[in-house]
């Protein structure tokens, strides 16, 4: 067992659950329903995201292409964020979720620094409905829904049925069949995180493109506005 985790990696361990998501990129149409559903589900404030769909255009007219890459916490089987947390506020659940105990979090942001996926954020104090703020938050794989036998909200609303969720250890589950039967990739698996969000199947070059900094003015000016807005706020790391 990797040290510092509260639960052992459960992928492939018989008798244990291992929730996982498969994202079929052929089916993602960039409709952003998942983003809106997630924001509504958790009253996620503006400026932070539990899930998002990255968009990138490549090629030259008329051979232009557009690519989507939905992103969320990978609920790693070997999560680097968990080991580093000084208060065990973030922990690994038996069934594979990586979760956050808000009542313990001190928002030191070590977990954010540890996460190679930018899957974590500090919740602002100004929120609409839910009175949790000033702590680190992240995607929970909709633990409260999944434990009630529902799929996560983003999966529920996914128009293209691009997001598929289930127990990877159950040989009859759709995710198990897809991971076993389709060419899939995980993001930054070379970091040793054992991510549990599987993608069918982007070309490596597309993945790289999507990670690149914004190039268009439209995106860059948004980035500038974002960092301008955050400047001088607590937790702002001083970029731009």
């Amino acid at each position: 067992m990797p040290i510092g985790l509260q639960a052992e990696p459960s992928a492939g361990v018989a008798g244990k659950k291992r929730w996982a998501m498969v994202i079929d990129l052929r089916r993602c149409i960039g409709c952003m329903a998942c983003v809106a559903a997630c924001k509504a589900e958790y009253d996620v404030p503006l400026g932070v995201w539990r899930t998002i769909v990255k968009v990138k255009d490549t090629g030259q007219y008329p051979n232009t292409k557009r690519h989507f890459l939905p992103r969320l916490c990978n609920h790693c089987d070997n999560p680097p964020c968990v080991r580093n947390c000084p208060t065990e506020a973030t922990y690994k659940h038996e069934e594979g979720y990586v979760l956050q105990r808000y009542e313990r979090c001190i928002a030191c942001r070590t977990c954010m620094a540890a996460c190679p996926y930018n899957a974590r954020h500090v919740l602002p104090n100004s929120r609409t409905r839910v009175k949790i703020g000033g702590v680190v938050d992240k995607c929970t794989f909709c633990e409260h829904r999944v434990s009630n036998n529902l799929v996560p909200a983003c999966v529920q609303t996914c128009l293209g049925r691009s997001r598929i969720f289930g127990d990877l250890n159950d040989p009859n589950s759709e995710v198990h069949k897809l991971v076993g039967g389709m060419p899939t990739v995980t993001l930054k698996s070379e970091k040793g995180t054992k991510p549990q969000v599987y993608y069918i199947k982007p070309a490596q070059q597309i993945v790289n493109q999507i990670y690149s900094p914004p190039e268009s003015y439209a995106a860059k000016s948004d980035a500038e506005a974002f960092y301008r807005h955050n400047k001088g706020r607590q937790f702002f790391g001083g970029v731009l």
């Binding site: 947390c85 000084p86 506020a89 540890a114 970091k191 900094p213 948004d222 974002f226």
Partner: protein, 291 residues
């Protein structure tokens, strides 16, 4: 739809680089200040710097505590890392060590004032070890982030320790000059420490440069970002001011041991030590900012 609709902040900002710098300085200042008690002999020359060293360490601890607490999103929970101690987190250890280090500083000063010399030596040893662990753990804080390649190298704690060694000596040198407690032997010690520290830093800088240039894509991107947005911090403040200038000043012992020169070199190396940490902190975070 445009290509980006979401953005991230870099989690750690100036508060952390200031803290890393200050606490490292404090740790080594303590070690040097208590060296006469610990080793005696020729370190006795540092005796006049004992009180200034302790005060410096104490002041820094007083600054760092609130700074760290302010940096938290939940400042009222600053004791949680100790209450909910997580042994694999350098931060938990760091919080514990920081508290113990602060205690050593206060106790040492207390017993020394009270004339009770018996506990001084153990306090000097423990406190110096804890002081040393300050830069070590701040370095570990970065090193254990295995997914950030710029940070995930054992060089980082070593570098931070070396930087602290220089900074501690430099700070004492500056104080010594201001308080005119200059003493040839003390200067000799400080000079030796600083010279070896800065020289090592140069090698570490070059090593880091190489690993940036020859490293993974992320390392190279980090280097690119540094040169793009932080060129002044890298080349001017870290290399020229922080390393080359003190090296030039210190390289000839006869000149380098002059208190003024020592102090100027000290100030320069302090600037460098801060800039170097900031550079590392930034370079480690930004390559993945748009990931």
């Amino acid at each position: 739809m445009f290509e980006y609709m979401n953005f991230h902040i870099a989690p750690w900002g100036w508060e952390l680089s200031v803290y890393f710098f200050l606490i490292g300085t404090a740790g080594m200042a303590y070690a040097l200040a208590t060296a006469p008690v610990m080793f005696g002999g020729r370190f006795e020359a540092l005796r006049p710097l004992q009180l200034p060293g302790l005060v410096l360490a104490f002041v820094i601890v007083l600054i760092c505590g609130p700074l760290l607490i302010h940096d938290l999103g939940q400042p009222m929970r600053f004791l949680y890392p100790i209450l909910y101690f997580h042994w694999t987190s350098p931060l938990s250890w760091g919080s514990l060590f920081l508290l113990m280090f602060a205690a050593c500083v206060v106790l040492f000063w207390w017993f020394d004032r009270a004339g009770n010399t018996a506990p001084l030596k153990p306090l000097a040893i423990i406190g110096s070890l804890l002081g040393l662990s300050m830069p070590l753990y701040t370095g570990n804080d970065l090193m254990v982030q295995t997914t950030r390649e710029v940070w995930a190298t054992p060089w980082i704690p070593v570098l931070f320790v070396v930087l602290s060694v220089t900074s501690g000596a430099a700070a004492l040198a500056v104080i010594g000059m201001i308080r005119k407690t200059d003493d040839a032997d003390a200067s000799k010690i400080l000079h030796a420490v600083m010279l070896s520290g800065v020289a090592t830093t140069l090698f570490l800088f070059l090593g880091l440069l190489l690993s940036f240039l020859y490293g993974s894509e992320e390392m190279q991107l980090g280097w690119h970002i540094l040169n793009d947005q932080f060129a002044m911090q890298v080349w001017l403040l870290t290399l020229v001011v922080g390393i080359l200038a003190p090296l030039a000043l210190l390289v000839r012992p006869d000149i380098g041991r002059r208190p003024q020169i020592l102090a100027v070199a000290g100030i320069a190396s302090l600037i460098g030590a801060y800039a170097f940490r900031e550079v590392i902190l930034v370079a480690g975070q930004l390559p993945q900012l748009y990931y």
